[in-house]
């Protein structure tokens, strides 16, 4: 599909070209008005430029013994060919190092997902109130929520800026829930004792 721009609605190749992102053409298949910006990488054919085979005294790729090494992994120093070479932010990595460093705090460039402890703690506290589970296990839910907040405060590794407000709101909600549940339990125990004494 190199060289062709596709309609985002029907995925059909666009027959006519647009000269700028402001200009629209009509898709021949779905009649949507479409604009497409093609970049030089669109014409690059990946299959046409495979890794070079090893010659004479060339160093081989660590992962492909028959391919000529094209770069050195900045992390482990292994020689890698163009197939194995992964470039991120000016650094070269081999697939092995990416796999090893995927979840390490020192290499946020490889994070592909992160757990949101703040949302988890807040939702846990909030949903227990909504579902009525609070009456049975309110203290447990509050403790788990607070535990998640304490655990996640330093461990939540989002690679974009994220406010701590959800942690604070979740913590307050869990604290109020916990105190409320204890007060409710004490009141109920007191009330039950009174009834038993009267009986």
């Amino acid at each position: 599909m190199n060289g062709l721009a596709l309609c985002p609605i029907c995925r059909a190749p666009l027959s006519s070209e647009t000269s700028s992102a402001e200009e629209f053409v009509v898709c021949g298949y779905c009649s949507s008005e479409v604009t497409a910006t093609k970049f030089p990488a669109n014409l690059r054919d990946f299959a046409d430029t495979p890794a070079e085979p090893i010659r004479n005294e060339d160093s081989p790729c660590f992962f492909h013994a028959t391919n000529r090494a094209a770069a050195v992994c900045d992390s482990c120093g292994r020689f890698v060919c163009t197939i194995c070479k992964v470039q991120t932010g000016g650094e070269v990595w081999c697939p092995d190092c990416i796999d090893k460093n995927r979840n390490k705090p020192s290499t946020p460039q490889f994070f592909d997902q992160t757990i949101l402890f703040d949302n988890t703690a807040f939702l846990l506290a909030f949903l227990s109130l909504l579902s009525g589970f609070y009456l049975v296990g309110g203290l447990l839910v509050a403790l788990v929520s607070i535990g998640l907040i304490i655990y996640g405060w330093a461990r939540q590794r989002t690679i974009v800026k994220r406010s701590r407000l959800r942690f604070i709101v979740g913590g307050l909600l869990a604290a109020v829930q916990g105190i409320g549940w204890v007060a409710l339990a004490l009141w109920f125990a007191h009330y039950y004792t009174q009834i038993m004494q009267q009986a």
């Binding site: 190199n2 721009a5 596709l6 309609c7 985002p8 609605i9 666009l14 992102a21 402001e22 629209f24 898709c27 949507s32 008005e33 479409v34 604009t35 497409a36 910006t37 093609k38 970049f39 030089p40 990488a41 669109n42 690059r44 990946f46 430029t49 495979p50 890794a51 163009t82 197939i83 194995c84 070479k85 992964v86 470039q87 991120t88 932010g89 000016g90 990416i98 946020p108 460039q109 994070f111 592909d112 997902q113 992160t114 757990i115 949101l116 949302n119 988890t120 939702l123 989002t158 690679i159 974009v160 800026k161």
Partner: protein, 161 residues
């Protein structure tokens, strides 16, 4: 790392409460970062400038339907005025005002597009920039950076992650 990203756009307010629909697009040093939130997990996709092949946008009528989402409760809010007391009038007035404002704001946000980014190995919708105004701003700010990165790139095979 956190400081190196600049937020370009994010999904509209009503999508922020729907799982999987909350997303934001960030501009990094040499790539675009699409972050999608699925309630408890945030997922990231990176599009390196040197790998982007096309960015296509198609006009869609979704913005009219999106506005109608607010028009329906706006119309139903007028039913509060059937009840003849100040309480009903006040509730009706407030809900008319809120839903009316949301309806007008949705229309003012402008037409919607379906925007798709394509590299050799992936194709992804860019929901945060699907309003016409945001898409134009994105084109003005980011497209020159992509062209610049690809002009500077030597013609050799790069393995894309």
């Amino acid at each position: 790392m956190k400081g190196s990203y600049r937020k370009l756009a994010e999904s509209s307010v009503k999508f922020r409460f729907l799982p999987g629909m909350r997303s934001a697009l960030y501009l990094g040093e040499d790539h675009l970062l699409l972050s999608t939130q699925m309630i408890l997990v945030e997922r990231y996709r990176r599009f390196f400038f040197r790998d982007i092949q096309t960015i296509a946008a198609a006009k869609s009528s979704r913005w009219i339907w999106a506005a109608c989402v607010w028009l329906v409760p706006f119309v139903f809010s007028s039913l509060w005025f059937i009840g003849q007391s100040w309480g009903y009038y006040l509730t009706g007035g407030v809900s008319l005002l809120v839903f009316g404002a949301l309806f007008v704001a949705s229309l003012l946000a402008g037409p919607t597009y379906v925007v798709e980014i394509r590299t050799a190995v992936q194709r992804q919708r860019l929901r945060p920039i699907e309003r016409a105004r945001k898409y134009r701003r994105f084109c003005r700010d980011v497209l020159p950076l992509i062209f610049q990165a690809q002009r500077a790139e030597p013609s050799q095979t790069e393995v894309v992650t």
